[in-house]
């Protein structure tokens, strides 16, 4: 496998800006995300639309990043590309020592199963399965024989972490929006991922529940040093992250670190 070491990506930073450089000192660099000259287009000829234009940035391992922008700004597309769900792009995406555009389909699938977790606006829980069974879904595609874990016990631990152990036998139709999203988070955490990709995780929730979910993300980020990338169009949600990346018409227009009050104190 042809890999690009992290340092190579760090040597040629182009348009990413870290305004509070001291924060990076906390981070380990084993699963840094590095985008270089990322472009994505839809259609041909006159109908050609540039969804992403020359986006370059680095997200260090353990960062909690929000990607904000208006509808159609390219934020979900960028998330999908970083998560290895969308492979039709030009430029370079490096995660840890994996250069995504050079990975085979099966290698990319393994990376998604092993290192990534996904959370969606529509939760995407399977209605015919219980909360517990939904959480164990990644286990079906787990190819690592060393991960000799009891799926039920693992799912119960995760359900306990998100405060829903009492709902383990409930079907998604019996859960509220916030509960569904917590089950989805537990599923995303099943394989101990290094990075959580969240696409509008609070989009289908009321403000209070949305904030609770974001608080859960904050604790996961702090306690487990998990890299979190949250796409949102809600400013109050975005501000709960430690870094905000703004996109407009497929272009990166700002990249700011957020100073939280409790950090200042």
């Amino acid at each position: 496998m042809n890999t690009t070491p992290y340092t190579r990506c760090r040597v040629h930073p182009r348009s990413y800006i870290i305004k509070t450089p001291f924060i990076s000192a906390h981070y380990t660099y084993d699963m840094n995300i590095c985008l270089r000259d990322l472009n994505k287009t839809y259609g041909h000829g006159d109908a050609k639309t540039h969804v992403l234009q020359s986006v370059s940035l680095t997200i260090d391992s353990g960062q909690f990043v929000s990607i904000v922008g208006t509808s159609g700004s390219g934020k979900t597309t960028m998330l999908n590309i970083m998560g290895g769900l969308d492979t039709s792009f030009t430029g370079s995406v490096t995660i840890g020592d994996h250069q995504l555009e050079k990975l085979k389909e099966s290698q990319l699938a393994r990376l998604r199963n092993d290192k990534f977790g996904f959370i969606f606006q529509q939760f995407h829980l399977l209605d015919h399965l219980t909360a517990l069974e939904n959480i164990t879904l990644p286990e079906f595609f787990n190819r690592d024989p060393k991960k000799n874990i009891d799926p039920t016990k693992r799912a119960q631990t995760l359900l306990d972490q998100v405060g829903l152990l009492h709902k383990q036998d409930a079907k998604p139709t019996e859960l509220s929006g916030g509960q569904k999203q917590r089950v989805a988070i537990a599923r995303a955490l099943y394989n101990n991922p290094k990075i959580l990709f969240c696409d509008e995780p609070t989009g289908s929730l009321d403000r209070l529940t949305g904030e609770q979910i974001m608080e859960l993300f904050q604790s996961l980020n702090k306690e487990h040093n998990l890299t979190l990338i949250v796409v949102t169009h809600e400013e109050h949600v975005a501000k709960m992250a430690s870094r905000i990346i703004r996109l407009e018409d497929g272009k990166l227009i700002s990249d700011d670190m957020v100073q939280h009050h409790h950090e200042e104190a």
């Binding site: 999908n80 699938a109 995407h124 399965l129 879904l137 286990e139 079906f140």
Partner: protein, 485 residues
């Protein structure tokens, strides 16, 4: 993905879509039951026709009827030896007819009066008759030609003679039956020349009995006189019955050309065999050879009238038949009829099986449609699985495994339905259809390969139906599927 994980995932999916799966399996169930029905019907008819009416594994050769200027090639011992060398031939059985006039008297035990008839008989090697065709303790063997070295090699009532052949000892024909049995043994009797003898064992064709019961008996019921009282006959009624054969003289043809004295010998029916002559009796060939040598034409009495060749398999038959024709001999019309019957049954079975395959093809299209619908409905689910780490191959495997489960269910249910239908038809056939010659106990013949083929066909058609949907599912773009595009 391990087989255990795959099985669990497949079961979850099938369980959720069970109504869709049930509906799409209907076509497969019908197609498989039809396929099994027609295959077993074809095999059943083939078995009845080709193993009872015509025998295909064996061919019979005869002299050519139109033989040209130099006369027909004869069927003799030299030819028997030549035929044994032909590739694919396992056994060669010569058949010899009586070549002089003969008559028979008998039937008193059955109808109260003796009937006098012309005796048509042929001889075949005793090895050609299966032991299953011979009833009870009776035997089909040449009793007048038992080789011996001492008296102990011979049956009771016989002693080893000078030619090292068992000969009947002297007895008293005027003594009662028990005394005669004590002297001549259970198989033997004391003949008019006061010598122990064993009746000539004969077999008759089961067709003869079928023809009698199916046609002659029915016609005789309307006749005047004692013939109208003739009963319907069964194999058990006839076995062991005997009569006297009169060699050298018949009622219509008169005396044999030979100056030999007429010979009267007792015959006993020991069994029924498809190898027996159609109209007449068949005895071990040794008797016929000796009688022909005694009463027949000296030039032709050593020739056979037919030779049966048994092949190691049905596939060899065509090659052997061609070889025999090249050697200048004719195949018996019985074989040609069997070939035609076999071809006809094969064609009919093929046509019916083609109908079954069309039904299965329609079912496969239906399965494809169902799977395409299911996959469309499950687009988000498949996208999610891809996001959670499923490869394209695993998604394809999942869909094809679901199709396999559907095929297995459809195949087993279809096979059971087909089997049940045949049993129902057999029951109706047995109770509602009148007896006729060769009426079989069952119209169908089953073999393990038919069930395996039925289930295999169900699986193949399900895979064909699910292949395109599986490919489409494996190509699901997770990003688009999950964002609802």
């Amino acid at each position: 993905m391990t087989p255990a994980k795959l099985s669990k995932l497949v079961w979850q999916s099938v369980n959720r879509n069970r109504r869709d799966f049930l509906f799409s399996s209907i076509g497969i169930v019908i197609g498989i039951s039809t396929l099994l029905f027609f295959t077993s019907l074809g095999a059943g008819i083939k078995e009845t026709v080709l193993e009872k009416v015509f025998v295909v594994r064996q061919i019979e050769i005869e002299q050519k009827k139109y033989s040209g200027l130099f006369g027909a090639k004869v069927l003799d011992d030299d030819l028997v030896e030549k035929l044994k060398q032909v590739e694919g031939v396992t056994s060669v059985y010569p058949k010899m007819r009586l070549t002089f006039p003969a008559g028979a008297v008998g039937g008193k035990q059955l109808i109260g009066n003796d009937l006098r008839v012309e005796l048509v008989a042929d001889g075949i090697p005793d090895t050609l008759i299966s032991k299953d065709d011979i009833r009870g303790n009776l035997e089909f063997k040449d009793w007048d030609n038992i080789a011996c070295s001492s008296d102990s090699d011979c049956e009771t009532g016989f002693a080893c003679g000078e030619e090292k052949i068992c000969k009947g000892i002297t007895c008293d024909s005027s003594a009662d039956l028990v005394t005669q049995r004590q002297t001549c043994g259970n198989l033997g009797f004391c003949d008019n020349s006061n010598t122990c003898a064993i009746p000539i064992p004969v077999v008759i064709s089961p067709q003869l009995l079928e023809i009698y019961n199916g046609s002659i008996h029915t016609a005789l019921q309307g006749s005047a006189g004692s013939m109208s009282k003739l009963p319907k006959l069964s194999e058990s009624m006839l076995i062991g019955l005997g009569g006297d054969a009169i060699f050298g003289q018949s009622y219509f043809l008169g005396k044999a050309a030979s100056k030999e004295k007429i010979e009267k010998k007792r015959m006993q029916l020991v069994g029924f065999s498809s190898k027996a002559i159609n109209l007449g009796v068949t005895m071990p060939i040794g008797y016929v050879k000796r009688l022909n040598a005694k009463f027949g034409n000296k030039e032709t009495s050593k020739n056979y009238h037919a030779i049966v060749i048994e092949a190691s398999s049905n596939d060899q038959i065509a090659g052997i038949a061609k070889r025999v024709e090249d050697m200048g001999y004719a195949l018996s019309s019985k074989f040609e009829n069997a070939q035609r019957a076999s071809l006809l049954i094969l064609l009919i079975t093929l046509v019916f099986n083609l109908i079954s395959v069309i039904i299965l093809a329609v079912a496969a299209v239906n399965i494809m449609h169902t799977f395409l619908m299911i996959i469309l409905e499950r687009r988000h689910e498949i996208g999610l699985m891809r996001a959670l780490g499923a490869t394209r191959r695993e998604i394809m495997l999942l869909i094809l495994s679901e199709a396999s489960l559907l095929g297995l269910f459809g195949g087993i249910t279809g096979a059971l339905l087909g089997f049940g239908t045949t049993k129902a038809i057999d029951a109706v056939f047995a109770s509602q259809v009148q007896d006729f010659p060769f009426k079989p106990d069952t119209l169908f013949a089953f073999d393990l390969w038919m069930f395996l083929m039925a289930i295999g066909a169900a699986l193949v058609f399900c895979w064909i139906g699910a292949l395109i949907p599986a490919i489409r599912a494996s190509r699901t773009d997770p990003a688009r599927a999950l964002t609802g595009h």
